[in-house]
Symmetry: C2
Subunit: 396 residues, 2 copies
Amino acid sequence: MEFEFSDRIRGLKPSLIREILKADPDPEAISFAAGNPSPDTFPTAEMAAAASDIFSEKSGAAFQYGITEGYTPLRKATAERVRRLHGIGKDFDDCIIVSGGQQGIELATKVLLNEGDTLVCEDPSFIGALNCFRAQRLNLVGVECDGDGMKTDELEKVLARGGVKAIYTIPDFQNPGGSTMSLERRGKLMELAKKYNVYILEDGPYFELRYSGETLPTLKSMDDEGRVIFCGSYSKIVAPGIRIGYVVAHRDILAKMAVAKQVSDVHTNLFFQMIVERLVSGGGFERHIADCRTVYRWRRDIMLRELKRNIPESKASWTKPDGGLFVWLTLPEGYDGTELCARAKANKLACVPGIAFGVDENAPSRSLRLNFSLPTDEQLVRGCEILGREIDNYVR
Amino acid sequence: MEFEFSDRIRGLKPSLIREILKADPDPEAISFAAGNPSPDTFPTAEMAAAASDIFSEKSGAAFQYGITEGYTPLRKATAERVRRLHGIGKDFDDCIIVSGGQQGIELATKVLLNEGDTLVCEDPSFIGALNCFRAQRLNLVGVECDGDGMKTDELEKVLARGGVKAIYTIPDFQNPGGSTMSLERRGKLMELAKKYNVYILEDGPYFELRYSGETLPTLKSMDDEGRVIFCGSYSKIVAPGIRIGYVVAHRDILAKMAVAKQVSDVHTNLFFQMIVERLVSGGGFERHIADCRTVYRWRRDIMLRELKRNIPESKASWTKPDGGLFVWLTLPEGYDGTELCARAKANKLACVPGIAFGVDENAPSRSLRLNFSLPTDEQLVRGCEILGREIDNYVR
């Protein structure tokens, strides 16, 4: 039979990145295409020890239905930790556990925005969030970024036109751009949000993965009204396959998000909520995150060194991120990121073309996203060589 | 600040059941209110053994991002098993893994129905599904059930009015009614769906938990067009806290559901997908399900025996379910299920009033739902005594 699909799903494309990853099982190929953390950072032994305890001590509870808002000790441990270390959360806020940061983004927009409402985001931005917004048929408006993050003067022009309901931003080590929003712009963004009465959806998947420069306050830590919804994640500081994230927001907003979560997946895998609680409450968690930073700083440094060694400044520019997982490389005017990706792919290097992250899915892009967290040292060196050679051939 | 919520979430109430469960921590109280399977049935030792293997053999893969459609060996094992044992799935079908049956319901309606589209369901029906449909602002039309399930003559009248897009049904051991759709009505339902060109969303959380009577074919097994989307679940045959379910449907529909899942939670907890795969592919799974049936048959028999012993036929009637987890008790005309629940609660017995399951949330109900899977033998006996006494006091 012929199937007729809903309006919301008909125009939605599968994420280009996931398609690239699925289609590329060539074992000799090098991938800068993923957004994956390194398995070297997964606290496997600690998780195994916690799992063994849970199996012997509380398997009845771990396998039964749980509360939609999340396993209470993990909610408490998470809320206490991010408030103590990062000032995230005021007395009016609370914390719920979600099935990865992606679910936090979906639930927040689901409860705050109607179909057709306008949401402003960085352009380019995280493909998973963009597709989530598209599936909700929001009116997406992109604002350009530079090395200091979203351009707040551009943002103000958009807000002044009226009708904006919310702003989605990744202030720290943005995906895909790698930029970090400056302190000044953070202040300006908060001021504008108040002036124009819009919500801020702050996505912080990497905010604890800073390798250089000075830590800047999250927007949520500057929020004295309950305007900011902070989506956090354990994907990059524990492991992504377990699908555990969290949201810190005003408790009235979280109450609605819990109702929305109830009809979505009832609750998040309880056993792994218990495992993460043990990691977070155990003594070694901050040490573990510091170790993650050490691994990624090392890899970032290799990638930046090798890009510099292989690519003349006249032929491409790229960001020097202070954290996160990505470098954003841009070709000179007149060149196309998708073409360079195709050339790299033919030489066994996978990258994601910038077009995948555009608010306008059809706008050509001179850029590509390079991931440094997953490749080995050798792959980073060889991949940058391939990229350098292909840029040299392509850019005249 | 004042929050303004989306239209879809503003009118949605939290599930009455979950609120009852949350609000009732009295350790002396007996609960017939849950929809939980018994922890006695959880294959904890088998899961612990599988977990230990996965930690030592494939922890890299288990903790990394996975494919949205699910862990391939589990998809294959599930599809092969339900097709071999139950005829679920044709060559045009495929199988994806979801974060519990609830997510299957949400994703299916998300990709097939627009806001305002009409969906027909049994009345009363599963509260989680009803709230999911409400959150999508579907136009819900209920059709009455009797002991043979949804009344297909009533259904035909609704379909003949036109504009129906899909039918949601739990043909086996319906929640909350406990009824099972007769073979004749299954045939009629399939015929009507074809005639009026509507989708069927078949929810089968309990379909393998039959304790008496003859097994009837699922609607999906009668589907030669790809019209039926079958939502299955490992919640009642493994454990609910792990949040693993599956959907068997035409591969074109599943492709869209995978796109919708990608923006919702990326993928389901991978470690427990691996655990379930080992259980399903291991030798003991059918034996395990048979053991679950033995446990629940025993408890159902106690509840039915004790209801009979404590309640005169003139004062209430109740279903004698062939499977599932619930008995549906109905008072004579003029009496109110909510009032009886309040009286029972005051005497330390929790039940869910029928009103919680109505398509019309405000329509009074003479019924209440009684769960027999979670209470112990003693609790079943004592709970039925309390209920009998309260009915005796209330119904004159």
